[in-house]
């Protein structure tokens, strides 16, 4: 299944947030969307998953969802969005409860999802007792449980400390290697983008436009920090970010 954004523009009142974004997310491909805070990344993700309608342009799906996918477009949120009055297992079960399946099947799916993020022993724990990393792993289990075709991840590691971030990054790579899902991975962090993105889409400041697209062919499993391919990609990304900053500065000077 492919997800396609066609000339997507989004405005809120007089505020232009996204301008003419064209994007195709192929099956099994992780597209990292990189851009400064406030450039419209979360907005783009809401449009891609159908939580909002674009002001103009279209968001399209092509091809059938893989068999067994219960919620083809599935979000992982920056603030985890765990329900505080539900235990870990109950949070993971939430997206299954309105679907027709036996209690046994639901329990089996929840147990499987918890096992995949290494939270088997924490099914009965409540969110307030969890560390940030465990909260996000719970949210990832909740996403895995519906077997998405495409993950829509909004800065999933931004609320975590550096060590936890590294560990979860390894988890994400492992999970991708296991199931080859497609994903839009929104981040403002260049290192995260080159670790996980098959393609990296660099957005400009608001209104967000695509400034550059960088492809990295290196398999995820081989992406260790300091690998020359990653260093080269980071350089190129930084260069286009710097261009952007230079342009912004010139605009300021022009105005003055």
């Amino acid at each position: 299944m492919e997800l396609i954004a066609e000339k997507v523009r989004q405005t809120y009142g007089s505020l232009d947030v996204l301008d003419d974004v064209d994007l195709v997310i192929g099956s099994g491909e992780i597209v990292a969307v990189l851009g400064p805070s406030g450039c419209g990344k979360s907005t783009l993700l809401r449009l891609l998953g159908g939580l909002e309608r674009p002001t103009s342009g279209r968001v399209l799906l092509s091809g059938a969802a893989p068999a067994g996918s219960l919620n083809p477009l599935t979000y992982v949120f920056q603030d985890f969005a765990l329900v505080p009055w539900r235990s870990v297992a109950e949070n993971v079960a939430l997206p299954l409860e309105h679907l027709a399946m036996t209690a046994a099947e639901r329990a089996a799916r929840v147990a499987d999802a918890l096992a995949r993020v290494d939270l088997v022993d924490f099914g009965g724990t409540y969110p307030k007792q969890l560390s940030g990393g465990m909260k996000q792993r719970t949210a990832i289990a909740r996403a895995l449980v519906v077997e998405p075709a495409i993950f829509l991840m909004d800065e999933p590691l931004s609320a975590l400390d550096a060590q936890t971030r590294d560990l979860l990054m390894d988890d994400l790579k492992r999970l991708w290697t296991e199931t080859r899902f497609a994903a839009v991975y929104v981040t403002h962090n260049v290192a995260e983008a080159v670790q996980l993105g098959h393609r990296i889409v660099v957005l400009s400041r608001r209104p967000g436009r695509i400034r550059d697209v960088v492809a990295i062919d290196l398999p995820l499993a081989e992406r260790h920090e300091g690998h020359p391919d990653l260093v080269a990609a980071s350089r190129r990304i930084w260069a286009s970010i710097r261009d952007e900053a230079a342009i912004a500065e010139r605009e300021l000077i022009d105005v003055a």
Binding site: N71, Y75, F77, P84, R86, L94, E97, H98
Partner: protein, 265 residues
């Protein structure tokens, strides 16, 4: 320059603003008040006409228990309170949820609720008596009406305060709206609902007493009024204490509900 004051501890500034609960403090407070009352009446600081002694009030209570009179009054009052409160609270919660969830209800019902809130409901009792007769229905209506507005406003505030990100999350998984209301909005609004219950239950007791003073044969309000008319201050104070006890029991029940329903906080 001021002289070097030498090595010293950083002054502590972090205390307070986290009240705990000492279990024995509440009974001790009540005991102290009763003791003060006893001393004041025994020493003659207060005239026995103005305030009976604790012992007299206790024996008035004991008489009422022995004759079974108290149960008649209590049963009548508790039934009115429960029925009236339940009607008002369920309507209030329904309307409050509608205001919190629908644009139409917000633009029509919210101004209405705001307009109804400040009306002293007891002023409407005569009207309710015209409509429903002098019997129980007019009392239920008065209490229900008084409970309605605070519950509606609490429910609306509670729904408004539910984290939008949780609703978004549920929508992103295709959870149907009915389930979102039941599993996200209702539990999310529960803290506000329970504080609404606290306030509306007290309002209910106030209205109950007032309504019983205006026209009732039985009920704590009627008991207090008739005792006052006969200058039986011991029975009067006993009645007031029963009302206070009713308030305490309600507060206790809400506390139990809070511990059960809000344990996740």
């Amino acid at each position: 320059m001021s002289p070097d004051p030498g090595l010293r501890e950083v002054p502590f500034r972090g205390g307070g603003f986290a009240p705990g609960n000492r279990r024995i403090a509440a009974p001790l407070t009540f005991a102290a008040l009763v003791l003060l009352w006893w001393v004041a009446t025994a020493r003659g600081w207060v005239s026995p006409l103005a305030l009976p002694r604790p012992g007299e009030v206790a024996s008035a209570l004991a008489d009422m228990v022995a004759s079974g009179e108290i149960w008649r009054h209590l049963a009548a009052s508790v039934r009115r309170l429960v029925v009236g409160w339940a009607i008002g609270a369920s309507l209030g919660v329904a309307v409050g949820f509608a205001i919190g969830l629908s644009t139409l209800a917000r633009s029509t019902a919210l101004p209405l609720v705001s307009a109804l809130f400040p009306i002293p409901k007891i002023a409407l009792l005569p009207l309710f008596i015209v409509w429903f007769g002098i019997g129980e229905a007019s009392k239920y209506a008065t209490i229900a009406f008084g409970v309605f507005s605070p519950m509606a406003i609490a429910a609306f505030g509670g729904v408004d305060g539910v984290e939008r990100s949780l609703i978004r999350m549920a929508q992103s998984f295709g959870v149907p709206n009915r389930d979102i209301v039941r599993k996200i909005v209702l539990p999310g609004a529960m803290p506000a609902l329970l504080s609404g219950v606290r306030i509306s239950a007290s309002i209910g007791i106030i209205l109950l007493t007032a309504a019983e003073m205006i026209g009732a044969e039985h009920g704590i309000g009627a008991l207090v009024l008739s005792a006052g008319n006969l200058m039986q201050t011991d029975r009067l104070i006993a009645g007031v204490l029963i009302l206070a006890g009713l308030g305490l029991i309600v507060a206790f029940l809400i506390g139990v509900a809070e511990r059960r329903l809000l344990g996740w906080r």
